[in-house]
Amino acid sequence: MGVLRPAGEFDTSYAYDMATIRQRWQWWLLFAFILALYTLPFYASQSVVSLVNRIAITIIAVQGLNILTGYTGQISLGQAAFMMTGGYISALLVNYLGWSFFISLPIAALGAGLIGLIFGLPSLRVKGFYLTMATLAAQFILPWFTRNAFPDILNGAQGLNVQTPVLFGIDFNTPQKYLFISLTVLILSTIAAHNISRSRLGRAFVAIRDHDLAAELLGVNLFKYKLQAFFLAAVYAGLAGALAAHNIRHLNSETFNLIDSVIFMGMLVIGGLGANLGPIFGAIVVELLIEMATLFGPFFITLFPSTAAGAVQALRPLFFGTTLMLFLIFEPRGLAHRWQLLKAAWRLRPFSH
C-alpha cells in the first residue's frame, strides 16, 4: 500500500526517494496544520487547549512505547512508571537546584532512560509474557520507592509541588503558554521516532520483533538492540513525564499508575502497532473517548441511580475497555491501517483496486 503514488511521480534522486513529504502541496498542508495547532490559544477555549496539551504529552509517551512494543515486540506495562521517574527527576532539579526546566528536561529523559535500562535487563533471559511481568514489577517498585525513600527530599506519598517553566522572563504558567512547549517537543519527538524507525536501528528492531532467533543469525545483537529499545522507550517516557509534571504542577506516586500503563498499551493497539501514525491516532481517539465519558456521565446517572457520582469513573474504563476489545477482534492493525486503506482508496478512485 505504501508504494501507491499519484500518477506521474517518479524518484529522480536518492534524496527524493528517501523523502517523507514529497510534494509542495503536502508541505503547505503540513505547515498550515502546524500553524493551526500553534495558534490554537487564539481561537479555542481554555479547556480545549488543556486537552490538546494532555494529548500531545500522551502521544510522546505512546511513541516511546511504540518503539519498544510496536517495532521491537517487547510488551511493557511499565511506561507510566518511567514517566513518573522523568517527572520526579525534572521536578527535583528545578525545585531544589534551581535549574531551568529546559535543561532539566533532557536530563530527566536520560535519567528515565537509564532506569528503563535496568528494568530492561531481564530481557536478556526472558521474553514475551515473562518480560511483561518484569516491567509490571517496575510499575510497583518505582512508585514504592518515591513513597518511601528519602522522605525529606521526595516528600513521601504527598509528593512534590512542581514549578512552572520560565524562559527569558516568560513564565509558562497557563495551558495556552504551555502549549508552545508541549507542541514543540511533540514535533521533535515525532521526527525522531520516524527517523529511528527507518534507520539501521529501526530495521534491527523490526527484525527482532518478527523473529528473534532469525535476527540473531543475521548478526543482529539481540541484547544490545533490546536494551536500546528499552532505553529509547524510557527516554520518551521521561520526556513525557517531565512535561506532564510541570503541566499539572503536582507530582506523587499515584500521578502515573498501572492503569495509565494499560491505557498507553491500549492507545497503541487502537492507533496501530508499529506505525508512525499509530500513537497519534490512538492517543487522540482514546483521550476523546475519555472526554466523552465525562459528557455522558450525567445521562448515565439517571439510568443507574445507584452509581451516582461514580458514573464518570465507571464509564471511562468501560468505554476504553470496550473500544480496545472491539479493535482487537475486528481491526487488530489499528486506525493507522485504516488510514492507509483510505488513502489507497482515494488514490485509486474510481477503481476499486
Partner: protein, 306 residues
C-alpha cells in the same frame, strides 16, 4: 528484627497465603489449558464477591444459597467471556491476547462500578469475629511464652482455600474432564486431532476459573470488607503464579505460602523502610525468580528451537 513479633507475623503471613494461593489457582487453571494469562482475574474475583453480596444482602437470601447462586452465575460469566472475548483471539499473537484480558479487566471494573457503585460495603460474616484462636509457642520473651493470636476468619479462609486447591488438583488428576484438560494443555492442535473438543475444554476452564475467583472473592471479602480495591489482591497473585510455576497447581500453594510468609517476615522488621516493603515484596521475589529461574519452582522448562 522485632523478635517478639516474629512468630505472630510469620503465622499471619502464612495464613494470608491461603487466599493468595486460591487466587493464583484461578490464573493457573486458565493458563494451563488455554495458554492465556488472565489479567482480568482480579475483576472476576471482585464481581463474584459483589454478586454474592447482592444475593445475600439485597435479596435477603440465606448466605449458603447466595454463595451457591453466585458460584453458578460466575461460572456462566466465565463461559460468556470465553465465548465472546477470547475465542475470536484463537491463534492471535501473545500481545493481542494479553491486551484482550487487560481490556476485559477494564470493562469488568467499569461494570462493577456502574452496577454496584464504589462504596464500601459490609459483607456478611461467615466466621465468628469474637473468639480468636490463641496458640502458645515454645519461644520465650521475658520468661513468658509468646502467644500467637489468630482471627477465626483468617484460619478458616486458609483452610477453605487450601481445600479448594486440593479439590481442583484432584479433579485434574482423577476425572475424565480433568484428563482432557491436561491433554489440551500439551498441544492444542494435537488434542483437537485426537477428538478432544478444545473449545468446550476452554469454556470449562473459564467457568472453573470464575468459580474459583468467586470463592476467593467471598473469602477475602469476609476478612477485609468489600469494595472495588478487592481486585488489587490479584496483583500479589501474579508473582505467586510465577514463583510456583505457570502450569503447576501444587505450585500455587507453595508459592502462595512463600509470598505470604515473606510479606509477614518483612512486616516484623523494626526499620520502617523495610516494614513498608511488604507491599512490593511479591514483586522483588518476582524479579529474582525471573532472573534466576524463569520457569518457577514447579513449572515446565520449555526448550526453544528454531
Amino acid at each position: 528484627m522485632n523478635w517478639q513479633l516474629l512468630p505472630q507475623f510469620a503465622m499471619t503471613g502464612l495464613l494470608a497465603g491461603g487466599p493468595l494461593a486460591l487466587t493464583a489457582l484461578g490464573l493457573v487453571l486458565i493458563f494451563k489449558s488455554t495458554y492465556i494469562f488472565n489479567f482480568a482475574q482480579g475483576q472476576l474475583l471482585l464481581l463474584g464477591a459483589l454478586i454474592t453480596w447482592w444475593f445475600a444482602v439485597e435479596l435477603g437470601l440465606p448466605l449458603w444459597l447466595a454463595i451457591i447462586l453466585a458460584l453458578l452465575l460466575s461460572a456462566l460469566i466465565g463461559l460468556i467471556i470465553e465465548r465472546l472475548a477470547l475465542r475470536p483471539m484463537t491463534g492471535q499473537p501473545l500481545l493481542s491476547i494479553i491486551l484482550m484480558t487487560l481490556g476485559l479487566s477494564q470493562v469488568l471494573h467499569g461494570l462493577a462500578l456502574l452496577l454496584f457503585g464504589g462504596v464500601q460495603r459490609n459483607f456478611p460474616q461467615i466466621f465468628s469475629v469474637a473468639n480468636p484462636y490463641k496458640i502458645t509457642t515454645p519461644f520465650l520473651n521475658n520468661g513468658e511464652n509468646i502467644v500467637i493470636i489468630l482471627k477465626q476468619n483468617l484460619v478458616w479462609s486458609f483452610v477453605i482455600a487450601i481445600l479448594g486447591v486440593l479439590i481442583i488438583s484432584a479433579f485434574f488428576r482423577y476425572t475424565n474432564t480433568g484428563l482432557s484438560m491436561r491433554g489440551a494443555s500439551e498441544d492444542h492442535e494435537l488434542a483437537q486431532s485426537i477428538g478432544l473438543r478444545i473449545h468446550r475444554i476452554f469454556g470449562i476452564s473459564w467457568a472453573l476459573a470464575g468459580v474459583v475467583a468467586t470463592m476467593g472473592g467471598v473469602l477475602l471479602a469476609t476478612s477485609s470488607g468489600l469494595d472495588l480495591s478487592l481486585s488489587v489482591v490479584v496483583l500479589a497473585a501474579f508473582p505467586v503464579v510465577l514463583l510456583g510455576g505457570l502450569e503447576s497447581i501444587p505450585g500455587t500453594i507453595v508459592g502462595g505460602l512463600l509470598i505470604g510468609l515473606s510479606q509477614g517476615l518483612v512486616s516484623a522488621s523494626k526499620v520502617p523502610m523495610v516494614r513498608n516493603m511488604s507491599e512490593i515484596m511479591p514483586y522483588i521475589i518476582l524479579l529474582i525468580v525471573l532472573i534466576i529461574r524463569p520457569e518457577g519452582l514447579f513449572g515446565q522448562k520449555r526448550i526453544e528451537r528454531i
